[in-house]
């Protein structure tokens, strides 16, 4: 009982004026975040390259700034902002959240960490738990990605704690794409390597300032070529892979190369 009385003392007596003010501040903050994010997303989609990523990246920052400003405005209206009062309030809140909304609070905390560590930013291409797509929005509790099949996947930030997060471009504007070719082992590997290099070089999707590499791997069933290159626009990564695959197939067939149709199945004793 004594504790509840102490806790009650922490709070100001909430008059009607205070409640209205707090309500208005909260509504204004939500509006700022909503409109700001809409505006930034709209502008970002009208731009390309670095400018697009910069605009996307500023969305979580905008939300954080609005959140801090809102807290600074609301807290003094709720409590006497002394150190003791803040510690007591946060302690009580932590205890309540720890029991009732453990995962929710964990996601919120991870959301804050994600703003600082930036394991993903809007516009990044990430993979979490097998879901691959472009980060569309980073909310307080979740990150939203859009898969290549135009499906939105909502992932709680708490995955940050114990899951592997694969980020294909890590805030940059270059994203490596790989096209695979499987050939019968009897062929001139140097010729194929040069041919595949030219296939990538002549693709209109290619970001030519970035390196093109051809990796050759010998397998029991044949030779595996991995053609690695960067597209001009990350959003065209699948078109790019399709383009180099089609060109590569045509060029290899034109040179009389034979593809492996099915890997050999080896029986293990």
């Amino acid at each position: 009982m004594g504790n509840s009385a102490d806790m009650a003392k922490i709070f100001h007596s909430l008059g009607q004026a205070n409640l209205v003010q707090i309500g208005l501040i909260a509504v204004f903050a939500v509006l700022c975040i909503f409109l700001g994010q809409r505006l930034l997303a709209w502008l970002a989609n009208k731009c390309t390259g670095r400018r697009r990523l910069l605009l996307f990246n500023s969305m979580p920052l905008l939300r954080l700034l609005v959140f801090i400003a809102t807290s600074v405005l609301i807290i003094p209206r709720l409590i006497e902002p002394t150190i003791e009062n803040l510690v007591a309030l946060l302690g009580a809140l932590g205890l309540a959240l720890g029991f009732a909304f453990k995962d929710y609070a964990s996601s919120l905390a991870a959301g804050f960490i994600s703003l600082y560590e930036m394991p993903y930013r809007p516009g990044d291409w990430i993979e979490v738990n097998g879901a691959y797509g472009e980060v569309r929005a980073i909310n307080m509790r979740t990150v939203e990605i859009v898969t290549p099949d135009d499906t939105v996947v909502v992932i709680p930030h708490l995955k940050l704690w114990d899951q592997l997060i694969f980020n294909a471009n890590d805030g940059g504007e270059n994203l490596l794409c790989v096209a695979d070719f499987y050939l019968h082992p009897a062929h001139d590997a140097v010729q194929v390597k040069h041919l595949l290099y030219d296939v990538a070089l002549t693709s209109p999707f290619l970001q030519i300032n970035q390196p093109v590499n051809v990796i050759v791997l010998n397998k029991p069933w044949g030779t595996h070529y991995r053609l690695k290159a960067y597209p001009i626009d990350m959003r065209q990564q699948f078109h790019f892979i399709s383009d180099v695959t089609m060109r590569g197939k045509a060029a290899l067939m034109g040179q009389g190369m034979e593809f492996v149709t099915m890997p050999a199945i080896t029986k293990m004793d």
């Binding site: 009208k46 296939v199 626009d233 060029a251």
Partner: protein, 410 residues
């Protein structure tokens, strides 16, 4: 080699050859730069469905000059003068019996005349002109073209358009690589290769050889453009011409000494030089599109007496810079437009069938895109070959640069 003639010496002010790194882009007036930035910001906030800007009228009291008069006042740039001037800049190299680099590259952005200059140069100096391989030879890597090239090593040669020797296709690079290897190793003897700047930018990635000496025609800045246009008009055998802005009356080119200078001189030519990036052909096309005359006024050919007395003059009215129509990319221009425009620039023009092959696009898709771009005055068909128009070139270059495509150095 022959000593430079008087003609060559006179031609020097317009035509100057420099190393590529010394090419200077003409600067725009500061207020124009600010206006351009503001306008690009405005474009960002423009609604997608907004209609294209209405065509600006050039004034109902003025009419476009008849083609014949236009050809007299602003004829095609005289590339033979440019070729003559090349001799002055290459004199040291020409004087060497065994030149250090056997081959020099003359680079130029589209419409800067590199192929015409070299063809003219070869005719003036009786150098052999090497013909380009056919598209079939390029795509099949037929080295008979290469083995048939330049049998007489003691005769110097020019290859005016290297961009006609390759395609951006996995089968279209081998021939040009072999040609460049042979040429720069001195196998063909002394020669000059002309190349479009866009093709050269791409070939820098496709061919890894020793970097040759690369020259280019210096940009046409304000002073050079004004002198060039005056030179063209003066050579037209027309009564002296005064070029004045239609809305203020201020002079566009420096007026003759006896003229009333109270109207001042406009910054039209400076804007023109900056917008055209100093490219002679682009500036020339814009200049022609901005010339007008009054409906009842015909530009007269000077009689002998008038020419001697220097009496009388005609006025050509120039559209204000803000009202000159610059083609722009159609709303919603995206990947297809970028691919087609980029391919056209990399090859300095292509036939639709080759575009189809290079871009892996369907025939319908290619033609639809070409017609859309043609309607926006960005591409034009010359015989069977489609090219980016000189008027549309600045907009196309900016569009490709903004979208991250490989661009040239100019």
């Amino acid at each position: 080699m022959t000593a430079p003639s008087t003609k060559e010496k006179n031609a020097a002010p317009f035509w100057e050859y420099v190393r590529v790194k010394d090419y200077q882009l003409p600067a725009a007036p500061v207020n124009q730069v600010a206006r351009k930035r503001f306008s690009s910001l405005r474009v960002l906030f423009r609604r997608e469905t907004a209609e294209q800007e209405a065509p600006l009228h050039t004034g109902e009291d003025l009419k476009t000059l008849p083609l014949q008069q236009l050809d007299r006042i602003a004829p095609l740039p005289a590339w033979n003068d440019a070729a003559a001037s090349l001799g002055l800049d290459l004199q040291g190299w020409l004087d060497q019996e065994n030149p250090g680099p056997p081959v020099i590259v003359l680079l130029g952005p589209p419409y800067h005349g590199h192929a015409d200059i070299l063809t003219s140069w070869a005719e003036q100096r009786e150098w052999e002109i090497l013909g380009a391989p056919s598209p079939e030879q390029i795509l099949s890597g037929d080295d008979r073209w290469l083995s048939g090239l330049h049998k007489q090593k003691d005769v110097p040669w020019v290859f005016p358009a290297l961009e006609r020797a390759y395609f951006r296709n996995s089968m279209g690079l081998n021939l040009v690589r072999c040609f460049l290897d042979n040429a720069f190793s001195g196998q063909f003897g002394r020669g000059i290769i002309g190349c479009d700047s866009w093709a050269w930018a791409f070939l820098q990635y496709a061919w890894r050889g020793r970097q040759p000496i690369v020259l280019t025609l210096q940009s046409f800045d304000q002073a050079r453009l004004a002198a060039h246009f005056q030179h063209l008009a003066a050579a037209a055998c027309i009564r002296p011409l005064r070029f004045r802005l239609s809305h203020t009356g201020s002079y566009v080119l420096p007026p003759p000494e006896e003229a009333d200078e109270s109207n001042g001189i406009s910054d039209f030519v400076q804007l023109l030089a900056a917008h055209s990036r100093g490219i002679a052909g682009v500036a020339w096309a814009l200049w022609r599109s901005s010339l007008h005359t009054e409906p009842d006024e015909a530009l007269k050919i000077a009689t002998d007496q008038e020419a001697q007395e220097g009496s009388g003059h005609d006025t050509v009215w120039v559209t204000p810079w803000e009202q000159v129509q610059h083609p722009s990319l159609p709303d919603g221009a995206g990947r297809d437009e970028a691919f087609v425009l980029h391919a056209l620039l990399l090859h300095n023009g292509l036939e639709p069938q080759l575009l189809q092959q290079i871009l892996s696009m369907s025939a319908n898709q290619v033609m639809e895109t070409l017609f859309r771009l043609e309607a926006a005055n960005l591409v034009v068909r010359n015989d069977a070959i489609w090219q980016v128009t000189p008027l549309g070139y600045p907009a196309v270059r900016t569009f490709l640069q903004k979208n991250g495509y490989l661009i040239d150095q100019f």
